[in-house]
């Protein structure tokens, strides 16, 4: 019943929005958007199932019918609009108190582990010269007390909430395509929690830089990533300093006004800056090419996009001075912060500085000379604007149109998308100035999207497998992190991929011996309700009708969980086993005892790797709370059903989308 009401509102709401959206489209006088599935020989239901498998994290029971009812084109347009209300999701997110903090707040509340120890020493909680701190327990207690006194919280808590929000959004958001695109672009512009220095910026990066910009225009998204602290830190541009710099001027009268102590600290700062300048002069290390290289190779042009090493170096010079604004009381750049405040934003602006939120263009580190990138001349003295111009140049380059189009097609169509499709998408990319909605529409309205070569051809990533399984069962997630430990085990340590390439988006990458076994085990563990904090009612999915036999169960739940798939093969293959007269009693007998799976601690933050000694004390207190009592699993028919559902989730058919 609850299910039906839910759908009723969903349809009503969808209907209302559909009217709004369609009138919007009509008023623009655009050609009517048509999905050519009939030409491909698909029924409306089959087409809806294909749409859902590619533009959502998997169909929930009833979703195919709902999409058919709304109309396939309408549904897709709603998803492109990405503004469906999320009444179910919002209260869940509201319980995560750290996910909406600004970078500065994060810096102030969640200090890095190494910082914490330093602060604790500074504040006299831990003696500086206790060389052999034998009593680790006492030490841990002191640190815990210190954190409590200061209102500090362990960083793992932040990352845990951050991971939880991703799982909840993917499972429950009505704006499924927005979530998929968030995942896509995050991976495209990858940053990693495994790099300590940038880790605390990552939650805000996804929230403020990626998610609002997922539908483009591409140049806006690119610029936002370029200016984000997470990317500046991850690819080191924050430290990149040029040779022909204009030193920062400080107003002389400020000097008079400041007290003695301030003057002293300022002297120290000046010495620091002198030193930095000297370093920049003496060493090549002033210029850092990492970001300049990756922005061309990975973010825009692609490795064969037609740039040279000279272009990389020149681009790096253009981007010198693009850095992170100081933030927080103890956070990044705290000492510089005071200096900047004294000079004042107005004065800084006059000198060519740009300070926007967490981004700082530091004119005094910018290479002011002339540069040439990809044949385009950047005149001397271009300042911040020449960096913007460079990124615009890259965003609108023909190689970028092809590179991005191909990557989107690989994500949504097939591991080897036909060139004809990429060409169409690239054309749209160029003509629409990188409007990603338009590119997606071109893709979905191309016959290639609906061809037999594309259907079921993509392999779900571990994340997609886990979320689609949970969605197919209409499960309730109380402890999202439990899913994460499985996703990690299946080979996708979300947010921790170390290389700037992001996870390779290919079945070949996801499917290997170890990970495949874990997929099967995941299916069995989930279906038998052995993943703590994830619950569902199998009987309710079938309107409380109990299947008469294992074979019937396979038929019914196969259709529910994999709508519109041809399951004859699967069913015929399993028939002999399912028709074994002893099956039910065997399974029931075996299912009698229950044991909770051990809580895995799968975190592989750099801290965990390098701070082995101190890692224990930093684990969130909630460890116990995460392994709550399991929902009682009744022996009997349910375990037979659970077994069947587990086999469905672990089956090859369910790995495909």
């Amino acid at each position: 019943m609850k299910q039906r009401i839910h759908h009723f509102y969903f349809c009503l709401l969808a209907f209302g929005l559909a009217i709004v959206f369609s009138s919007f489209v009509n008023s623009r006088g655009r050609e009517k958007f048509v999905l050519p599935y009939k030409q491909a020989g698909l029924t409306e239901q089959q087409a809806a199932a294909h749409l859902l498998s590619r533009f959502s994290y998997g169909a929930r029971p009833g979703d195919v019918q709902a999409v058919v009812k709304i109309g396939l084109e309408k549904w897709f347009e709603q998803q492109l609009a990405g503004n469906q209300s999320d009444a179910e999701l919002d209260p869940m997110l509201a319980r995560l108190d750290a996910i909406n903090l600004s970078n500065t707040e994060v810096e102030n509340i969640f200090p890095r582990r190494a910082q914490l120890v330093r602060f604790a020493v500074r504040d006299g909680y831990i003696p500086k010269d206790s060389v052999n701190n034998a009593n680790r327990k006492e030490y841990a207690a002191t640190m815990a007390k210190y954190m409590q006194d200061k209102g500090y919280r362990p960083q793992q808590e932040l990352y845990r909430q951050f991971i939880n929000q991703k799982i909840l959004r993917a499972t429950y958001s009505n704006n499924q395509l927005r979530e998929l695109m968030t995942d896509f672009w995050f991976n495209h512009f990858n940053v990693s929690l495994s790099k300590n220095q940038c880790a605390s910026f990552v939650p805000a990066y996804e929230r403020d830089v990626i998610r609002p910009n997922v539908f483009g225009p591409f140049d806006k998204l690119l610029l936002a990533t370029a200016k984000s602290p997470a990317m500046l830190m991850y690819l080191d541009n924050f430290s990149s300093t040029g040779n022909n710099v204009v030193p920062m001027e400080e107003p002389a009268n400020e000097m008079m006004a400041t007290g003695n102590r301030q003057a002293q600290s300022r002297k120290r700062l000046e010495a620091l800056m002198q030193k930095a300048k000297a370093n920049a002069k003496n060493k090549k290390q002033g210029l850092n090419e990492n970001y300049a290289r990756e922005v061309m190779e990975l973010h825009t042009l692609g490795v064969d996009g037609g740039y040279t090493q000279t272009d990389v170096t020149q681009a790096a010079r253009v981007l010198t001075g693009w850095t992170i604004a100081p933030m927080g009381e103890n956070g990044y750049g705290a000492p510089i912060k005071k200096l900047m405040e004294r000079v004042g934003d107005d004065k800084l602006r006059q000198q060519g500085f740009v300070h926007e939120g967490d981004f700082l263009f530091a004119m005094n580190r910018h290479d002011n000379g002339e540069k040439v990138v990809l044949g385009k001349k950047f005149k001397a003295g271009g300042g911040y604007e020449e960096g913007v111009a460079l990124l615009e140049l890259l965003a609108h380059h023909p190689s970028t149109a092809k590179f991005i189009s191909k990557k989107i097609a690989v994500r949504f169509v097939s591991d080897n998308p036909p060139q004809s499709l990429i060409d169409k998408m690239a054309k749209t990319f160029t003509s629409s100035n990188g409007d990603i909605r338009q590119v997606l529409m071109t893709m979905a309205s191309a016959p290639e999207f609906w061809s037999a070569d594309a259907l079921r051809e993509k392999t779900k990533s571990p994340f997609e497998l886990a979320i689609s399984a949970v969605r197919s069962l209409d499960a309730t997630i109380k402890q999202p992190y439990q899913l994460y430990t499985w996703i990690n085990k299946m080979g996708q340590q979300m947010y921790y991929y170390q290389a700037p390439t992001g996870f390779p988006d290919r079945g070949q990458y996801w499917i290997n011996t170890g990970s495949l076994l874990n997929r099967m085990n995941f299916g069995l563990a989930l279906a038998s309700q052995r993943i703590p904090g994830i619950s569902f009612d199998l009987a309710a999915l079938n309107n409380n009708h109990e299947p008469e036999s294992a074979e019937a169960a396979l038929n019914i739940y196969g259709k529910l969980m994999m709508p519109e798939r041809k399951l004859d093969e699967t069913i015929s293959r399993l028939k002999p086993m399912l028709n074994n007269p002893d099956l039910e009693s065997n399974v029931a007998k075996a299912a009698a005892q229950n044991a909770a799976p051990q809580q895995m601690n799968a975190m592989a933050n750099e801290d965990a790797n390098i701070m082995g000694e101190n890692a224990d004390q930093m684990k969130p207190k909630g460890k116990k709370a995460l392994v709550n009592n399991m929902p009682g699993q009744q022996a009997g028919n349910n375990s037979m059903l659970a077994q069947v559902v587990g086999v469905i989730i672990g089956s090859p058919e369910f790995q495909r989308k």
Partner: protein, 423 residues
């Protein structure tokens, strides 16, 4: 792209072997029949241990005659002099002293099976753990965009198809950067978990296992079908032995630590003849900014674990020592001077250990100049005098027979330094 066919052929034989209840005769048959590439018996194994966090090479292997070091490490400097109130360093060659908590290494060094390289590090002077580990694992110290890891490339250069999924194995929960890439490599944190599992329900697990095997056998997706077959063959391989109740041989005692357990499982895989050639394990806790300790304390515990784990592994594998080489690595070293909190900060060069019967052992290789200010990198750190790629490539060349340094370390054109003997 590596073909999966090699394994499937061999896998079929493995299954046959199991059904006869005996082993390892089929392996010999397989080789004789030239159907499958030879498994372990004809192959060498390289085991890499990454010490994450940057080991203080100057405390592990101390140039104890250096007065500068003594002066800038008032609380951390250890002496080799006997008879003091503290445990002395183990004098290796009159200049370098091994930390006393690594006493088990001494015999290997004297037998010339343990080599040490001092002053080893990366030409990229980053002092960020992340970047330095990334560069060391990708093997390209100036290129972040390198997709593959050097161990994955090493697997690809072995010159024969993977006979089993266990050609490259990492004893970690997810694949480390070193193993990123197209060649087969598998991350296993616990061998006993490598199975179809349904806790508390063995019958259910067995039944599900049978169902899965059937389903994957008939699927139309080649990738899923082949990998499924591999997975089930792999399970059968591991089931030949009772991985849970493993008994090390020759009275080897593994420390009950992450590293000890990893090496124990690598030893199991080696003894199981499952085609392992490149293995990877990790050791943590080396980022000793704070209260590093001397003959006791954090650092001492760490090196104790490192050396005891390696020696337990070595002893356990007494029958296989000709085939195995163990190499340690760490992203950088630590400051020459101690810091204000009884520890050391991020520096440049460190040292590493290589153990094996074809190692040019009993020597401290590399160059450590007297630690005068003018000899230090940036006036503070032990200078990198040996590129890590010189050592990694030499071990891979001489031990694994890999001979394409252009692929293994694309941007490197340096010289090897003779850490391995002959061939």
């Amino acid at each position: 792209m590596t073909s999966r066919r090699g394994f499937i052929k061999a896998g079929g034989l493995a299954l046959f072997g199991i059904s006869l209840g005996g082993i390892p005769g089929f392996l010999a048959d397989a080789v004789a029949g030239t159907v499958a590439p030879g498994l372990f018996k004809k192959r060498k194994i390289m085991v890499c241990i990454f010490q994450r966090g940057a080991m203080d090479g100057l405390m592990a292997v101390t140039p104890f005659t250096d007065n500068y070091l003594k002066a800038v490490r008032p609380n951390l400097f250890m002496s080799a002099a006997q008879g003091g109130k503290n445990k002395p360093l183990i004098d290796l060659d009159g200049r370098f002293g091994l930390h006393p908590s690594m006493a088990v290494f001494e015999q290997m060094f004297r037998e010339k099976r343990l080599g040490i390289v001092h002053g080893i590090g990366s030409p990229n002077n980053t002092r960020s753990h992340f970047d330095a580990q990334d560069f060391m694992e990708s093997g390209t110290p100036f290129n972040k965009g390198t997709e593959t890891g050097w161990l994955n490339r090493a697997v690809g250069l072995l010159g024969h198809e993977a006979a089993t999924p266990f050609q490259g194995v990492s004893l970690t929960s997810s694949l480390p950067r070193s193993f990123y890439g197209e060649n087969p490599a598998v991350a296993i944190s616990n061998l006993a978990d490598f199975n179809i599992q349904l806790r508390g329900n063995q019958a259910g697990a067995n039944m599900a296992s049978k169902s899965f095997e059937d389903l994957y056998d008939q699927t139309s997706s080649g990738l899923l079908k082949d990998t499924g077959k591999e997975s089930f063959e792999a399970i059968k391989m591991l089931q030949k032995t009772d991985t849970k109740n493993y008994k090390p041989e020759y009275n080897a005692v593994y420390p009950n630590t992450a590293l000890g357990n990893s090496l124990k499982q690598i030893a199991q895989l080696i003894k199981m003849d499952v085609g392992l050639e490149v293995a990877f394990a990790e050791s943590g806790g080396w980022d000793t900014h704070f209260n590093q300790g001397t003959e006791t304390g954090i650092f001492a515990r760490n090196v104790n674990d490192l050396s005891n784990s390696i020696m337990a592994f070595w002893t356990d594998l007494s029958k296989y020592q000709d085939e195995v080489t163990v190499m340690t690595m760490t992203e950088f070293g630590r400051t020459v001077a101690q810091n204000g909190t009884g520890g050391t900060d991020h520096g440049r060069a460190s040292c590493n250990f290589i153990l094996g019967n074809d190692v040019n052992g009993g020597l401290v290789h590399g160059i450590v100049n007297p630690l005068a200010k003018e000899n230090l990198e940036d006036g503070r750190d032990l200078a990198v005098t040996t590129d890590f790629r010189a050592v990694f490539s030499e071990v891979a060349n001489k031990h694994l027979g890999i001979h394409n340094d252009k692929i293994l370390f694309p941007d490197w054109a340096g010289k090897q330094i003779g850490v391995m003997r002959g061939v």
